[in-house]
Amino acid sequence: MAAGFKIAEPLEYHRSFLKENCRPDGRELSEFRTTTLNIGSISTADGSALVKVGNTTVMCGIKVELTNPLVEAPGKGFIVPNVDLPPLCSSRFRPGPPGEQAQAASQFIADVIESSEVIQTEDLCIERGKLCWVLYCDMMCVDYDGNVLDACIIALLAALKNTKLPEVTINKDTGSTRTSFCVFDDSILIVDPTAEEEGLSTSHLTVVTDEKERLCVVHKPGGTPLSAEKLQECIGRATARQREIQKLVDKVVHSVKTAQ
């Protein structure tokens, strides 16, 4: 009847695990799910990457096009990130235009790109005021099992590294990674939440750090309050995670390069 307990009283069910400092899927509170990365799998895209964080799967495809820069910013190109959460990835999403969650995710990714300066939009300019590149970065969630923003950032980063612009070199030396936390019952912190854990927790926190371990985004869209000490704890964990992901991305990019 354990399964009955899980569905009838999901919150009590999770609490009973957290009391023992573990989670229903066997992980510890601060343990991430296995993350795998595959790049360049889509030949129609100019850059692509597939990321799996546990069950959560996100595919990022980048299409490069040419356009005229804006009059008010003649020396800048465009990066247009969009996150799509199609009905395919979970029964919670309905067909039609993107919902609030997808829109907030798109805005979040746009903020991350701007704050972390992953790509300088100036580098995308070909001729000042005349011609520039536009990078359409579409992140498509294929399997929604929590922590989608993390997966999106990793996918975006890997896909950007995989993108080659004809006759243009971009310096993409700053990478950034994010880490998601969930707060349970106002006091217990867990990382890399699954969809179920996300639904039951009282607050979410996302920390994005760059290679130089500076913070890019500390995003907490409301929820139960958090003290400064807890915040510090999250940031410490995020920087550690950043190094792990950086290693993973570098490894995969390198392996693809040597294969060519």
Binding site: A104, P221, G222
Partner: protein, 220 residues
């Protein structure tokens, strides 16, 4: 709490607030911070659509209307921030299977708009008489090129800043309910900004109390 260093400026622009200025909604408030101005309206607890019904609590919807044009992705992301902050302070379980709607209309934007949205929202929720466990307020901090922290920046100051952070602080323990940041900054700078915001929140909460007292002065 961290020591606030002397160079940082905890001054806030002049505040203004008026409750119950609209006749149709169940609660309304306008909030002015310098030249930034927002009107908030609350409807509910009202009938809820079957598809949005939650059996053990009220459903809260937040709509942000920009000054001109249609709301875009940016507004959607701010709606999420405001909504989740309100959800944490409201006692939604007292009104199960009902709907609450909060509409925020931006009148003029001169920096710190997310903070102003939060402040207007809190005053409007209070005006509507919805049960809340605590109050909350929004504070925006900007770090300029000289690494100075400016609280409640104007649009011009925001533009020049290297990093921009908005926090929602609760009235009970002055903890961080929401954080929304732009630009890159160090951990120390973050902690400093939080400390400054906590200090600023005391002024705002006092302002809340004063304006509510003014409103009820006739009934004392």
């Amino acid at each position: 709490m961290m020591e606030v260093c002397g160079s940082t400026n905890v001054s806030l622009r002049e505040f203004g607030c008026e409750q119950t200025l609209l006749s149709r909604p169940d609660g309304s408030a306008s909030f002015v911070q310098g030249d930034t101005s927002v009107i908030a309206a609350v409807y509910g607890p009202a009938e809820v659509k079957v598809s949005k019904e939650i059996y053990d609590r009220a459903t809260l919807e937040v709509l942000i209307q920009p000054k001109v044009g249609l709301p875009s992705v940016r507004e959607r992301s701010q709606e999420q921030c405001v909504r989740e902050t309100c959800e944490a302070s409201l006692l939604l379980t007292l009104h199960p299977r009902s709907s609450l709607t909060l509409v925020l209309q931006l009148i003029h934007d001169d920096g710190s708009r997310l903070a102003c949205f939060l402040n207007a929202a809190c005053m409007a929720l209070m005006d509507a008489g919805l049960p809340m466990s605590c109050l909350f307020c929004g504070v925006t901090c900007a770090i300029n090129a000289d690494s100075e922290i400016i609280t409640d920046p104007t649009a011009a100051q925001e533009k020049e800043s290297r990093a921009l952070m908005t926090f929602a602080i609760d009235s009970k323990e002055q903890r961080v309910m929401m954080s929304y940041t732009k630009g890159s900054f160090s951990v120390h700078e973050l902690q400093q900004c939080i400390a400054v915001s906590q200090k600023a929140s005391e002024n705002i909460f006092q302002f809340y109390r004063d304006s509510v007292r003014r409103r009820y002065s006739k009934n004392l």
